[in-house]
């Protein structure tokens, strides 16, 4: 395996991990808000969060370039802090996070929806503050959903092509597995590399899915105990 390929694999994994790290806290908070609260502008928030699911990833990438370009407010502020977003792995991580966020929010929200709000009320009557109730009741009961959402976010980030390609421009050292596959595919005689990377991508995604299933199952047994008759 060539160095380029190894760096593509590592970069992809880094993108996946960064996407989860960047989205987990705001994603869980958003999911909770959407599941438990009514507030003005809720539909707008939902639309913005879920938009990357339906618009072409290239378009998402284009918007990110616009937002983070150094001529724009946010981009220039970050540039003053020495953070370059466009054409760097930072920007790619942000793109991956934006692409993964809707899947995380969706899965976690439905996990929250499945927690009986009366259980939370019961915890409150026992002296539990709302924040504590969230950590003691809501979060543990939705744990399998949070794990599943994180894995989906990770896998989405790992496999993204359009948005990351726009932000990184596919320059050397800034290529994830998908970008590396595309790069090799464009030049003849690189069939073996394409095949190898495709296989690795498949294995990584499958492993992520298996891990999430196992985590969800084990947390269920640990937390809910074996069901017995009686």
């Amino acid at each position: 395996m060539q160095n380029q390929e190894i760096s593509a694999i590592l970069l992809s994994l880094l993108m996946g991990v960064c996407a989860v790290i960047l989205t987990i806290v705001p994603g869980v908070a958003l999911a909770w808000l959407l599941s438990r609260r009514k507030f003005p502008g809720k539909t707008l928030v939902e639309t913005v969060v879920f938009l990357p699911l339906v618009i072409p990833p290239v378009v998402t990438g284009y918007f990110l370039i616009k937002v983070f370009s150094q001529q724009k407010l946010l981009g220039s502020l970050l540039a003053e802090l020495g953070i370059r977003v466009i054409f760097s792995w930072t920007g790619m991580a942000i793109a991956a996070a934006v692409m993964g966020l809707p899947l995380l929010v969706r899965t976690v929200r439905s996990a929250f929806d499945n927690v009986n709000p009366k259980l939370e009320a019961a915890a409150r009557t026992l002296g539990c503050s709302p924040l504590r109730t969230f950590f003691a009741v809501t979060l543990p009961l939705s744990w399998p959903g949070i794990v599943a959402g994180s894995v989906l976010c990770f896998a989405r980030a790992l496999g993204d092509f359009g948005a990351t390609a726009m932000v990184s421009a596919g320059t050397e050292g800034n290529r994830t597995i998908s970008l590396e596959i595309f790069h090799h595919y464009q030049s003849p005689g690189h069939e073996a590399e394409v095949l190898r990377l495709a296989a690795i991508s498949l294995i990584l995604s499958a492993l992520a899915l298996i891990a999430s299933e196992m985590l969800a199952a084990s947390s269920k047994t640990a937390r809910f105990g074996e069901r017995q008759g009686g």
């Binding site: 259980l119 009320a121 009557t125 026992l126 002296g127 017995q228």
Partner: protein, 368 residues
């Protein structure tokens, strides 16, 4: 400790006026389904916020006052709630469920200790079990224990006997009676069952419902009454049921060949046909009010094993019947037709014999 409330709640075409002041140990809250029992309960807990009025527990701070903008958050109200659905935390085992509120209660405010509750509700052998593995009756006991261990200033019970079969119902009712006699926590008991209310409540507040010409529903809580008087007003609206007495007892002797067991509750000795217990084991005996015969004067020889001497405490009329409370060492309630009661010329203080066949007594063995 007393509960005082006077509030109005309105939502859509439903309105509720709830005025009540009670110093009883167990206050019943009774009304047909849809009358607003749950609304009152939710307002007490703090989940719903009435539009006007107040809710206070004397001796504690005011829970709610619309005028002064006071609404104590749910977690600071210190009301123990046993929900109809039990609502045990499925991710925790029985012990962690029981100690959930206890651990959050500052040590200085704890009035009940886990050991006390484990014994009172026979929970010890359940402690390590997962909440999801419990039977309906076990779940209910854990829910009651969990609420008590948060050392509440009042216990709210929402239909605690609904959905249980007859044996379980007897058993949970017996536990509730035990709480009533051994703890000093007042209770509000929400139910639509006559039998449950008469078995445990001291006074009952009725919720009456009127539907106006625009199909708007108005519910109103009327003043406190003695359970039977309350039900006389509500007959037909509320599910009637048997009048019965539940007595906690200890098995003394089991005679499997003769097919009976002798159990004792203080000075009272009872014969039951359940021989599944063993000497020293605790049990609860339910005596149906309709299964009892009262007799005046000397007795002929009888086949019945349970013959007790007693004194009439109280007579109440309920529909076409008379409910007679008799002290036989334990207080038991019997049901007679109005005519029989008149013919026997019963009055408080009358000396009577109380006769029950052993196979009319339902015994529930506990622990073992």
């Amino acid at each position: 400790m007393a509960l005082e409330m006077d509030f109005r709640f309105r939502r859509g075409d439903f309105s509720l006026e709830a005025a009540l002041s009670s110093r009883e140990k167990v206050t019943g809250l009774v009304g047909p389904s849809g009358s607003g029992k749950t609304t009152i309960l939710m307002s007490l807990i703090g989940i719903l916020r009435p539009q006007s009025g107040y809710i206070r527990i004397l001796g504690e701070s005011e829970l709610f006052c619309a005028e002064r903008g006071i609404s104590v958050p749910i977690e600071k109200r210190r009301l123990g709630v046993v929900f109809q659905e039990n609502l045990l935390f499925p991710h925790l085992n029985v012990m962690d469920n029981l100690l959930f509120g206890y651990r959050l209660t500052p040590a200085a405010q704890r009035r009940l200790e886990p050991d006390e509750i484990y014994d009172l509700l026979d929970l010890r052998r359940l402690l390590r079990r997962g909440a999801g593995s419990l039977s309906g009756g076990e779940q209910r006991r854990v829910a009651i224990g969990r609420a008590l261990l948060a050392s509440p200033s009042m216990l709210l019970l929402d239909e605690p006997l609904t959905g249980l079969d007859a044996t379980l119902r007897d058993r949970i009712l017996a536990y509730l009676l035990r709480l009533k006699s051994e703890l000093s926590i007042p209770m509000v008991y929400v139910s639509h069952s006559f039998a449950d209310i008469t078995a445990i409540c001291d006074r009952v507040a009725l919720i009456e419902v009127e539907v106006d010409e625009r199909h708007h529903k108005h519910s109103k809580v009327s003043g406190l009454k003695k359970p039977h008087a309350a039900f006389a007003d509500l007959s037909g609206v509320v599910r009637a049921g048997p009048i019965e007495t539940i007595i906690e007892a200890v098995v003394e002797r089991v005679d499997k060949t003769a097919g009976y067991a002798q159990v004792r509750s203080g000075p009272l000795e009872l014969f039951v046909t359940d021989t599944s217990g063993s000497p020293g084991q605790k049990c609860f005996v339910t005596i149906g009010g309709e299964d009892i015969i009262l007799s005046l004067g000397e007795l002929p020889r009888l086949s019945s094993r349970n013959v007790w001497r007693g004194r009439v405490l109280d007579l109440e009329s309920y529909q076409e019947r008379t409910i007679v409370s008799v002290d036989v060492g334990r207080q038991i309630r019997t049901v007679l037709t109005v005519e029989s009661a008149r013919e026997l010329e019963l009055k408080p203080g009358s000396e009577v014999h109380v006769i029950v066949k052993a196979n009319s007594l339902r015994a529930v063995m506990v622990g073992g």
